[in-house]
Amino acid sequence: MKNQSTINIFVLFASLFASLHVHSSEPLSGAELINNNCARCHNSRPIQEFSMSEWKVIMPHMREKAHLTGTEVQAILNFMEIAATPAKAVKVIEPVTIAVDPREVLTRYGCQGCHQVQGAGGTLGPSLDNVISDRGKAFFLRKVKEPQFNNASSAMPQMPITDEELEVLAEFLSPK
């Protein structure tokens, strides 16, 4: 019995560390990874709840719990850095072009990590396609600025989006 157990253990470990051929798909953004992983077990926690230095200690803990790779953890931390950076600082570090492209805004703030736009994106939050036609522009603007105003448990982060970027996004999502 003892020998059999030992053999079983070796077989398990050997198969685990055997060099499997890994077919990686396109790397996911930090926002997509949050959408895909946090809600598997619990509500996503607002990024602003912890400081970046705290997230850098919390994420290795979650890496093992949620079966994340080191690369994925780094992508999530990169997204958190963007979300945690005040809007003015973002403008200084990465100046936005004068003609703001709404798709660039969606990408910059990882909106489609959690929301669908024209059929592409995550499912943690509702689709943005009809948000303005259904709820109105005022609702949309306030939701982005104050994500928890209508839902206390909303995990949506307060992004450092500028007024100009928000207007462009609202125009893009308005019914044509």
């Binding site: 560390f17 598997r40 077990c41 619990h42 926690r45 803990h61 790779t69 499912t123 839902n151 448990s153």
Partner: protein, 392 residues
């Protein structure tokens, strides 16, 4: 003169510490984080005859030694019926990130069998107030006899993660001290403290007067096994097992688990468990379930000889959490939770649970639940509870 020199020395050292202290604090804040959860619960239970408030505080200490090594520990601090503070080490381990997709863990860790123990046990997450019956009551009593009541154990584990096309594949293996015979345990030491008594109850159903006469359908005695993690092992055989899961995120995760451990002193009698777990996540609901089948060896008498025979049990639970606030905005962040669970063959029982979770923010929730357990050979149990739970 000597006193003056001593004062100078103390003054210099104090000044040095005063200068150093902020630097150390700044450095440590990047490496150490204190998080956790807690809850306050009012519970009224029929069979146990209890009607009381209880409270727990569960701090989690996280410490990053460096990019490769991470230490984590979770304590559960609560009050027992006599007002004494009880402390339990839920886990205390170190992760070594061997490479991008491999993690080695050593210490007392959450067992990667199924999903409840490793991922769903904190009380603040989107689930029922109670632990699913097949996993036991985690330190307190319950009417349903658990299948595999292991939250954590001491040993080593390894984890690998692969991206295969659009799927992620998770491999977990572990080797731990494992279980032991409760009969041996009872003979060896007198059960003294309330915690041991509470734990022993997990394996001695409240409906059975003599815990050693649980029988299967053939009238054979069903062995009782204790799983509480210790820093000792009653035999040289280690328990081992693991889990393989496939996930199509963010919607589906399906896993299968295995556990095997010898529980007698001679290392001849094993308990083996197979499990299947599923986690379906959508925008409006989460559906979680697990099925566990156990085979427990025992010596039985056949033709005046002791031979090893196996006793099998199985059980399952399915729990749905529905975000009704998504469909009816006036309900805010309200969830409805429904669970059905069954155990079969020995100590058969069936349970329905309904509950409402109301979230105050993404980490604080008020849960109200009602549970009705039908026990085949014993009194049925009904429970009502209100719990305020918070993660921090």
């Amino acid at each position: 003169m000597r006193i003056i020199n001593t004062i100078r020395l103390v003054t210099m050292l104090s000044a040095g510490l005063a200068i150093q202290q902020p630097l150390h604090a700044a450095e440590s804040s990047d490496r150490f984080v204190f998080v956790g959860y807690g809850d306050v619960k009012y519970e009224s239970a029929d069979v146990a005859g209890t009607d009381a408030f209880s409270a727990r505080f569960v701090p989690i200490f996280l410490f990053s030694l460096n990019d490769k090594m991470h230490v984590e520990a979770e304590l559960e601090v609560g009050l027992n019926e006599d007002g004494e503070t009880e402390t339990e080490l839920e886990y205390a381990d170190i992760h070594y990130f061997l490479n991008d997709n491999t993690t080695i863990t050593a210490g007392k860790f959450l067992l990667p069998f199924g999903q409840f123990s490793a991922n769903w046990h904190p009380s603040w997450i989107n689930r029922s107030i109670w632990t699913p019956g097949i996993y036991g009551a985690h330190g307190s009593s319950q009417a349903m006899d658990p299948m595999l009541p292991i939250l954590s154990d001491v040993g080593v584990a390894a984890q690998q993660v692969y991206q295969v096309g659009s799927a992620k594949v998770f491999f977990d293996v572990f080797m731990t001290n494992g279980p032991r015979s409760e009969a041996e345990h009872d003979e060896e030491e007198v059960v003294e403290d309330d915690h041991d008594i509470a734990f022993a109850r997990l394996f001695s159903p409240t409906t059975t007067l003599d815990p050693d006469v649980d029988e299967d359908e053939h009238g054979e005695a069903f062995p009782e096994v204790e799983f509480e993690a210790t820093s000792s092992d009653n035999n040289s055989n280690k328990a081992f097992g693991g889990r393989i899961a496939v996930a199509f995120l963010p919607s589906i995760e399906i896993g299968t688990s295995y556990y095997q451990g010898a529980y007698d002193e001679g290392g001849q009698l094993d308990i083996r468990a197979n499990g299947i777990d599923i986690n379906l996540i959508s925008t409006h609901a989460i559906l979680r379930g697990e099925y566990i089948r156990t085979e427990t060896d025992a010596f039985v008498e056949r033709d005046h000889e002791d031979v090893i025979d196996s006793f099998s049990r199985n059980g399952w639970f399915l729990q749905g959490t529905f975000f009704v606030g998504h469909l009816f905005e006036e309900l805010g962040s309200t969830e409805i939770v429904i669970e059905h669970a069954q155990t079969k063959k020995v100590e058969e029982a069936e349970r329905w649970m309904v509950g409402i979770n109301y979230w105050l923010d993404p980490r604080s929730v008020i849960k109200v639940g009602y549970e009705d357990t039908d026990v085949a050979d014993g009194p049925d149990d009904k429970r009502f509870a209100v719990q305020f739970s918070y993660g921090f």
